[in-house]
């Protein structure tokens, strides 16, 4: 569900910044929520710290992290990692009932922290956890929240300018939360680059107590079933990705994509119609409604390059497109293009890589 009316171009009220209400005047600093689940920090939290650093520097304020977790090593490890990726200070709430993510205690802890320490900007990852939490925190605090941003900046008067795709990616819009605090935004994994990790000495930690009792929390986690194919989760973070589109014509031909991927140690993915046809599982989908990827090399075979696909791959360092149609939109943003039949070309490419990569064949060639 979403806004009743789609965003309109700047006009009238949209440009107006009123005097910030008195009660918000002492809201300061940029906060990044560190998503810690089942002992693991989601990498999007570090990507956000990289971006948060830039915003904080522009505003001349501190960059803080929020860590919510059960007492123990994993939670403190997350604190140390937050410093390593650039946080100046960390707010931590430790409680046994923060072990598994549930909306009620996390919302309570987060809103409590915001009310006490008053950040002007609060950033979360647009993951299932982050979106679940951000929605209820923003409503509780009665403030603005901009979902799934692809770009963040602060303008001349220090307001957060949050840019996100709209209408399925056909347009971008820049959204402000002018007269409320904190200004909240979620950002998709892999949209922002991973910042450099520094072995920074531990910074300032502020421990916060929230009165939370397990018997007041209605929802219980009975069990957690991890994804069976753990590789699926790695697509967003793979260095090399090979993907196939509808141009491959038949489900069997996806084997050609998988073969090439296996040969070069890549992950494989696909465009959306393949998921809709049931040729590939949904978590292999790349794009606006699938995963954003940021590999060093992306090879797209039989993919037209529709805007919704493009927004998911634009962060790739090198994009190679194989398509029979010289006018396919993918050639507008790919770096290297080959106009040819992918069904015939993929096996040839796989063989060529095999020759190149195999030390045995290299030895043989040399001898």
């Amino acid at each position: 569900m979403s806004t009743a009316n789609p965003p309109r171009p700047a006009a009238g009220r949209a440009g107006i910044k009123k005097e910030l209400p008195e009660r918000f005047k002492d809201y300061r600093h940029v906060w990044v929520f560190i998503e810690l689940e089942r002992g693991q920090v989601h990498p999007v939290s570090f990507e956000l710290l990289g971006e948060g650093r830039k915003l904080a520097d522009k505003l001349g304020v501190q960059l803080a992290s929020v860590v919510l977790g059960p007492p123990g090593e994993a939670t403190w490890y997350a604190v140390a990692e937050a410093f390593a990726y650039g946080a100046d200070l960390v707010y931590i709430v430790e409680a046994p009932l923060l072990a598994d993510y549930r909306n009620e205690p996390f919302t309570k802890a987060m809103t409590d922290l915001v009310d006490t320490h008053k950040p002007e900007i609060l950033l979360l990852g647009a993951t299932t956890l982050g979106r679940d939490l951000a929605g209820s925190v923003a409503t509780t605090l009665q403030t603005g929240l901009t979902a799934d941003c692809t770009e963040l900046d602060v303008d001349a008067d220090g307001s957060l300018a949050a840019t996100r795709p709209t209408f399925g990616g056909s347009l971008l819009c820049t959204i402000y939360t002018l007269n409320y605090r904190p200004q909240m935004a979620t950002v998709r994994p892999r949209v922002m680059p991973m910042p450099q990790r520094a072995d920074k000495p531990v910074g300032r930690v502020i421990q916060h107590k929230v009165s939370l009792a397990e018997d007041e929390i209605v929802t219980k986690v009975l069990s957690f079933l991890p994804d069976s194919q753990s590789a699926e989760a790695n697509l967003a973070y793979a260095d090399v990705v090979v993907a196939g589109g509808l141009g491959l014509g038949a489900a069997e031909n996806l084997q050609l994509v998988k073969n090439l991927a296996r040969t070069i140690g890549a992950e494989h993915g696909c465009s959306r119609p393949l998921v809709q046809k049931g040729w590939m599982p949904a978590d292999r989908q790349i794009g606006q409604t699938g995963k954003t990827i940021r590999p060093k090399l992306y090879i797209a075979a039989g993919i037209s390059g529709a805007i919704q696909h493009r927004v998911g791959v634009e962060g790739a360092d090198l994009i190679v497109a194989i398509n029979t149609d010289p006018n396919a939109p993918i050639f507008d943003f790919a770096h290297i293009g080959i106009v040819t039949d992918a069904i015939r070309f993929l096996p040839a490419l796989t063989e060529a890589f095999t020759r190149r990569l195999s030390p045995h064949s290299r030895d043989k060639l040399a001898s």
Binding site: R13, T139, A161, L172, G265, F331, D332, F353
Partner: protein, 283 residues
């Protein structure tokens, strides 16, 4: 048992075109559909009703023409439809939308019985925010279960529900209590074809139209543009990349040669990949 489900009428964004000069959306002639994610929620609501009895009320906020979407939902078998429509709602962001919808749900509860479950789709295809569901839950003080892939069990007498919820890297099995708000994931069920009887009923049945006052909304400052903390400052088309892809010529070459030329071109641009690819390959 009473279930309320929120649906939204959206432009079929696959067919949306952007005006090349003004960068605005060209809506003329773009067909509208029920937000596809909402259909999974609707199907789940109807399944529960069919199994346990009770009623399903569909609710939508939008312009008068959103009545079409509600009629479609009645055609699938929903029992009652309410359209929340008023010029005061124009320009609502997610916070203002969740306010108006939650007020209408409260009113529906007073009029037709308190809902046991409120459903929404995971998100819409035009706004893509996934924020309205959680917003409604928070305002109505309902437990929220988002990204639900499956309702594993439900016990209306004991007021208990178990769901499977999609999370990063796996599935959470949660036990919670009714009433609650559920946002439904896509692909969770097969959407039914409405029966002829339902379709005929839908044509005859009445869609209730409520304005702000009829929905019991007193505080209009929380609605529409005025009630929206976020403001859209700029809408623009993504910048096209300056140069097109460098083409590798395929004429009069074997595929083998083209492939080798491609690998050379990749490594010329990204020399570090040679090591990376070989390393990944375990070689």
């Amino acid at each position: 048992m009473h279930i309320v489900i929120c649906i939204k009428q959206v432009p079929d964004s696959a067919q949306i075109r952007v005006h090349p000069v003004t960068n605005t959306i060209m809506r003329q002639g773009v067909p509208t559909i029920i937000n596809p994610y909402d259909l999974f929620a609707l199907e789940e609501a109807l399944k529960l009703r069919d199994a346990h009895g009770g009623e399903v009320t569909v609710l939508s906020m939008g312009p008068p023409m959103a009545e079409d979407a509600l009629r479609k939902a009645l055609g699938y078998g929903a029992d009652r439809a309410v359209l929340l429509t008023d010029r005061y709602f124009a320009g609502s962001d997610t916070l203002a939308t969740s306010f108006a919808l939650s007020q209408a749900i409260a009113k529906i509860g007073e009029t037709f019985g308190t809902p046991d479950i409120v459903f929404t789709g995971k998100q819409t295809i035009d706004g893509d925010t996934a924020q309205v569901g959680p917003g409604i839950a928070q305002r109505l003080d309902l437990l929220q279960l988002t990204y639900v892939a499956k309702i594993a069990s439900i016990d209306f007498a004991a007021r208990e529900i178990q769901v499977e919820r999609r999370s990063e890297g796996g599935t959470q099995v949660l036990k919670s209590r009714l009433p609650c708000l559920i946002t439904m994931l896509e692909g969770t069920n097969e959407i039914r074809r409405g029966s002829l009887q339902d379709a005929m009923g839908a044509a005859r049945s009445h869609v209730l139209k409520w304005n702000a006052a009829e929905a019991g909304i007193e505080d209009l400052t929380k609605c529409g543009l005025r009630g929206s903390p976020t403001v859209v400052k700029r809408v623009f088309a993504p910048t096209p990349r300056a140069e097109k892809a460098a083409q590798i010529d395929t004429a009069e070459k074997t595929l083998r040669d083209v492939a080798e030329e491609l690998i050379a071109a990749i490594l010329a641009r990204q020399p570090a990949l040679e090591h990376e690819l070989a390393f990944n390959n375990g070689a």
